[in-house]
Structure formats: structure tokens, C-alpha cells
């Protein structure tokens, strides 16, 4: 997957999303996180879930975005495979697409939450990188 990578952590998993905008970097960090749970290429866009949140701190915004996605997926029995995030100042508008878990979807490991450890959101030469350790 383009713009998706991982970094080492003893017990858990470090996810990285990179993109031309902070929103795109966050979308790809979300893809990195959900790819721990299944093969995203197999996830169909049958259900759409949209939500908004307000956060001025970019790093906290990343954690809130990832955790809100996990919560919305778990509360509805869904797996998400596609993500969109639009930033309007401190207001963030997120949308995720996915489907209920099917028996033939590959099972990876469950992500419990996105943590604040080794959290970073930075821009370098027009490229944004968002990093976060997720607890599995």
C-alpha cells in the first residue's frame, strides 16, 4: 500500500502513514492500522460511517482519528478498508467505508487502541508523516 509503513516496538506495532497533506497521512496511518486486522484489498465498501471531531493539537488529532475509527468499527461489528479525512482548521471530517466481518475475510490481530507513545506528526519538504504505536 502506498504511503504505509511500520516501525518496531517490542510488544505492539508502530504504524506510519505518509502523504501530501496531513489528512492523507492520517488516512494512510488508518490503512496501516486496519491492515493489521485483515487484508484491506478484500474489504468491500458496503457501509459508510461519517463523523466529525474538533482538535487543535495535530498529534492528539491523529490519536483521536485512529481511536474513533476503531470504536466505530467495533461498535457496529464492521471492518473498515477505505478512509477519507478532511481538515478544516481545528475541525476534522472523517469518513470510513467497510463491511460486516465475513467468515472468508483474513483474520489478523485485533488493535485495542492507538497510544500517545512515540506519537509524531511532522511535515518535511511538503510531505507529511504520521506515526503512532497501536496496542494489540
Amino acid at each position: 500500500m502506498e504511503g504505509v509503513d511500520y516501525f518496531e516496538h517490542d510488544a505492539d506495532i508502530g504504524v506510519i502513514g505518509c502523504g501530501a497533506s496531513v489528512g492523507q497521512a492520517f488516512e494512510r496511518a488508518a490503512a496501516a492500522m486496519f491492515a493489521v486486522m485483515t487484508d484491506l484489498a478484500a474489504v468491500q465498501r458496503n457501509v459508510q460511517v461519517a463523523f466529525d471531531f474538533e482538535e487543535a493539537d495535530l498529534e492528539l488529532a491523529l490519536v483521536i482519528w485512529l481511536n474513533r475509527l476503531l470504536a466505530e468499527a467495533r461498535a457496529r461489528g464492521l471492518i473498515f478498508g477505505h478512509f477519507q479525512l478532511r481538515r478544516d482548521g481545528d475541525n476534522w471530517h472523517g469518513t470510513a467505508w467497510g463491511e460486516p466481518w465475513r467468515s472468508d475475510l483474513e483474520r489478523g490481530v485485533e488493535v485495542k487502541g492507538a497510544t500517545l507513545t512515540m506519537l509524531s506528526v511532522r511535515e518535511r519538504e511538503g510531505q507529511w508523516e504520521a506515526r503512532c504505536i497501536v496496542d494489540v
Binding site: 518496531e8 486486522m37 461489528g77 490481530v109
Partner: protein, 475 residues
């Protein structure tokens, strides 16, 4: 870990002396175990030693490894009267994750002929792994009752037996739960997750007692060589995860507002005697009760499967102990009894003989302590000892502890091959996740024998029995 900065003060205890900015750090372990730990363990526990109101040292257990905020295997006690804090990062996302250990009236010879069927039936009836839901769906009002009643609620609903309750920490119900402090989203996340095992390092394992170390304690715990046990490792599921998530951000903001300097944002905390601190404690205690109820339901499902496959079987609760908690406990500090909030993140409470919280049947020998190992090696039952009170607020190791990252394990092992190899050694694995199996490869963990031995030699708990896995349902 580079241990050259540490000072060895006992055979199995090293310290990082206070530098004036932080309190004393103590690391329990052998030289070998400490050297194999990541340097981040020392960095993280040093950060914990900077938090306000810490009493004594910030400590790590012999199975410690790099976590988030607190290291896994971290123990730290805070005094509310000294401005002590409560930290969501000191408890973790999986609030009250722990182990329920059931002892059976069966011996190895009884299960050998039916082991594949037993493993298959357990896998069929125990919801395990990402995306799996339980058959029990709770309305919001019922979930409030779970958050208040814990395992008592489960027994009242017909899950398990009243005889289980004395052998569960807090006798099955954690006081001080406030369901109103738990978000609607947390409650929604739990709707389909009661009676589910989860994923990652969670498991349900059929084990056999291979070796007895302490005959007197084994007798008190009802254990003998060759006996079949079942251990269930899981926690408070989606509700606990969401409480951890909700309060991590709100406590991080509270700490900033209250002027608490956090060396790592994950140490998000608030004074115990603050509205924010009290709110988190009420929510955390609600999650503890959900975890106790969850393990009670899983114990019930396990008994149903055993009764079906082996009709003459009986499974009694040996003990149920959590290892991701913060509990208010009375401890002796410089000759005076004080109420401390003891954070144990990946560490097990280990009260010594005579403590009133220990079930009467075990009180003379100490609290049962369970060190859960990897699926290919084994686990230990230990007993708490008096000495641990002064050393580590009565705390001990909780598992083997990871020695290798999940990414590294994934590159080194393939799930299917690993499962086949373990089957060749007589250990049946049932899982939907080949990725999960590879990440949980026995070789990705520290040597559990060494962890248990050092836990004993460090004076934290004493070994009672070694348990060899025979079948394992992995999430």
C-alpha cells in the same frame, strides 16, 4: 539494556539511583534477563519515577518489556495525600486483563484420547479473534449491572457457580465502579463482546501439571502432578479499550492544565484527589467488573464444552487474578499504614500468607500468582510471599514477556508451519489467525523458566507448579 548505569543492590535487584529530578528506580531480574531487555524499559520506568506522589521506587518485574507509557511489568504506588496521581497509561488499554485458572478432576490420561475433539469443541464454542462476537447481547441497562456486579452478576445470570466467587480477586466484584463515568461509545463497543476471548496474546489453554515445586502450597491449591488445568487469559474487551482511549486524551489534557510535566504523553494522569482522577477511577473499576464477568462467562462456556466431551469432568476455579490494574491498598510505609494506589501494568498482585484478601483455603500459603507463558513452553503457578510486601508492594511477574517485536516474529515464523511444528510436539493450536500465531511464536518470548526462577530468587513469589500446554485456543 545497557546495565552499566545500574547498581546491583541484591542478587536479583538493580537500581538506578535518584538524580534529584526523579525517585529511585528498581529493576528486578537477573543480569541475563536485564541485558536482553530493550533500553526503552529503563527509559520508561525512569519517566514513571518522575510522576508526583510516588512512594518508594518505580519498579519493573523480571518479565518487563517495552510498553507504552509505563513499561509492561511496571509497578508504582502513589499516595493521594502527597498529591499522588492515577495514570491511564499505568493501567493500559486492556483494563483488568488477567488469568482465570481452573483446576479439573481429570488427569492427562483422561484427555489424551479426546484431545483433538476437545480442542475443536473449545474453538467452536469460545468466540476468539478479531471480529468474533459472543452470543450474549446486552441492553445498556444490563451492561450497567455488569459494570457494578462483575462476576457476581454473571453468576446471578447462570454463568458459573457461586463457589467461584471467593477465588476471584475482590471476591468477584470491584467496589467503586461508576457506570455513569463510562462513555456511550464504550458501552456500544461492548455490546457483542461479553464472553469473548479477544486477540493478540489472549488464549484459552488446556494444561497439565508437569512439576510440583512446593508440595504444601500445591496441596492447598488442590494441585497434583499429571492434573489437567485450564487457563483463560483475557480482559475487559471493547469497553475497557474505549475507557483507556477516552481517558488517555482527557487525562493528558488535565495534566497539562494542572501543570504536571509529563516526560511522555502516554503517562497521562491526574491527582487521585481531583475530579478528573476520581472520574477515571470510577470508570476503570467499572471495566474491572466487566473483565471479571467476561472471564466468568468464559469459564462457564469452558465447563459446558468439558461436560459435553468428558461428562464426568469438573472444573473448579483455582484463582482469577488481574495484571493490568490500579488498586487502592493499605501498605506499611516506614512503620505506618498508608493507603496507596498501586499501579500494576503487566504485573500480578502477590499477597503473602495471612493477608485477609486471600481466600481462606489458601491464606496459610499465600495468594496464587499465575505466570502465563507462550503457547509452546509452559506456565507457572506461584504463591505470594511476605518478603514481596517490602520489596514490591506485593507484586510479581505476569508472563514470559516479549523478547522480540511482532514485526520481527512475523518475518521469522509462518503461522501454519508453527502450528504444525507444535502439533508434532503434542500441543494442539486452534486459531483463525495465521498472522496471530506467528506473532505469538514461543521463540518471540523470553524464557519463562528463567522468569519464574528469577521471580522466586528475587523474593517476589515462590514457584508452586509448572504447567505444560496441551491445547490452546488463540484469538
Amino acid at each position: 539494556m545497557d546495565i552499566s548505569r545500574l547498581k546491583q543492590i541484591e542478587d536479583y535487584c538493580y537500581t538506578l539511583p535518584s538524580d534529584g529530578k526523579r525517585a529511585l528506580v528498581k529493576l528486578y531480574g537477573s543480569q541475563v534477563l536485564l541485558e536482553t531487555m530493550d533500553d526503552k524499559v529503563l527509559e520508561q520506568i525512569s519517566n514513571v519515577a518522575r510522576l508526583p506522589g510516588l512512594v518508594g521506587a518505580a519498579m519493573t518485574m523480571p518479565d518487563a518489556h517495552w510498553g507504552y507509557g509505563f513499561p509492561i511489568g511496571g509497578v508504582a504506588a502513589f499516595d493521594p495525600e502527597l498529591g499522588g496521581i492515577i495514570s491511564a497509561g499505568g493501567v493500559g488499554f486492556d483494563i483488568s486483563c488477567g488469568i482465570r485458572c481452573l483446576r479439573s478432576n481429570l488427569d492427562l490420561a483422561d484427555i489424551v484420547p479426546v484431545l483433538p475433539r476437545l480442542a475443536d469443541e473449545l474453538f467452536r464454542h469460545i468466540p476468539a479473534g478479531v471480529g468474533e462476537e459472543g452470543s450474549l447481547k446486552l441492553a445498556p441497562r444490563e451492561l450497567d449491572e455488569v459494570m457494578l456486579g462483575g462476576a457476581h452478576w454473571a453468576v446471578e445470570q447462570g454463568y458459573g457457580e457461586a463457589d467461584d466467587l471467593p477465588c476471584i480477586e475482590e471476591h468477584g466484584t470491584m467496589a467503586g465502579a461508576v457506570p455513569g463515568n463510562v462513555s456511550q461509545l464504550a458501552k456500544q463497543r461492548q455490546r457483542g463482546e461479553m464472553g469473548t476471548l479477544g486477540s493478540g496474546n489472549h488464549y484459552l489453554e488446556v494444561q497439565v501439571v508437569e512439576k510440583i515445586y512446593d508440595a504444601e502450597a500445591a496441596r492447598a491449591f488442590g494441585l497434583h502432578q499429571g492434573q489437567v488445568l485450564v487457563s483463560i487469559h483475557c480482559g475487559s474487551r471493547g469497553l475497557g479499550h474505549q475507557i483507556g482511549t477516552d481517558y488517555l486524551v482527557s487525562l493528558a489534557k488535565a495534566a497539562q492544565r494542572l501543570g504536571i510535566a509529563l516526560p511522555d504523553r502516554e503517562l497521562a494522569c491526574a491527582p487521585i484527589n481531583s475530579p478528573e482522577g476520581r472520574e477515571y477511577i470510577g470508570a476503570m473499576n467499572a471495566a474491572v467488573n466487566v473483565a471479571l464477568a467476561n472471564r466468568q462467562i468464559l469459564a462457564h462456556l469452558t465447563r459446558q464444552v468439558f461436560a459435553h466431551v468428558l461428562p464426568a469432568s469438573r472444573l473448579d476455579t483455582l484463582y482469577d487474578v488481574s495484571h493490568n490494574t490500579c488498586k487502592a491498598e493499605k501498605h506499611q510505609v516506614e512503620g505506618r499504614e498508608r493507603l496507596l494506589y498501586v499501579h500494576r501494568k503487566g504485573a500480578t498482585r502477590a499477597f503473602g500468607p495471612g493477608h485477609p484478601a486471600i481466600p481462606e483455603a489458601y491464606r496459610a500459603v499465600g495468594q496464587p500468582v499465575i505466570i502465563g507463558g507462550s503457547m509452546g513452553t509452559g506456565s507457572y503457578v506461584l504463591a505470594g510471599i511476605k518478603e514481596s510486601e517490602t520489596k514490591a508492594w506485593s507484586s510479581a511477574s505476569h508472563g514470559a514477556g516479549r523478547a522480540m517485536s511482532r514485526n520481527a516474529a512475523l518475518k521469522k515464523w509462518h503461522g501454519r508451519e508453527l502450528i504444525d511444528e507444535l502439533a508434532g510436539r503434542g500441543i494442539l493450536i486452534r486459531t483463525r489467525s495465521m498472522r496471530g500465531a506467528a506473532e505469538e511464536a514461543p521463540g518471540a518470548y523470553k524464557d519463562v523458566d528463567s522468569v519464574a526462577e528469577v521471580t522466586e530468587k528475587a523474593g517476589l513469589a515462590r514457584r508452586v507448579a509448572f504447567l505444560r500446554p496441551k491445547a490452546c485456543v488463540k484469538g
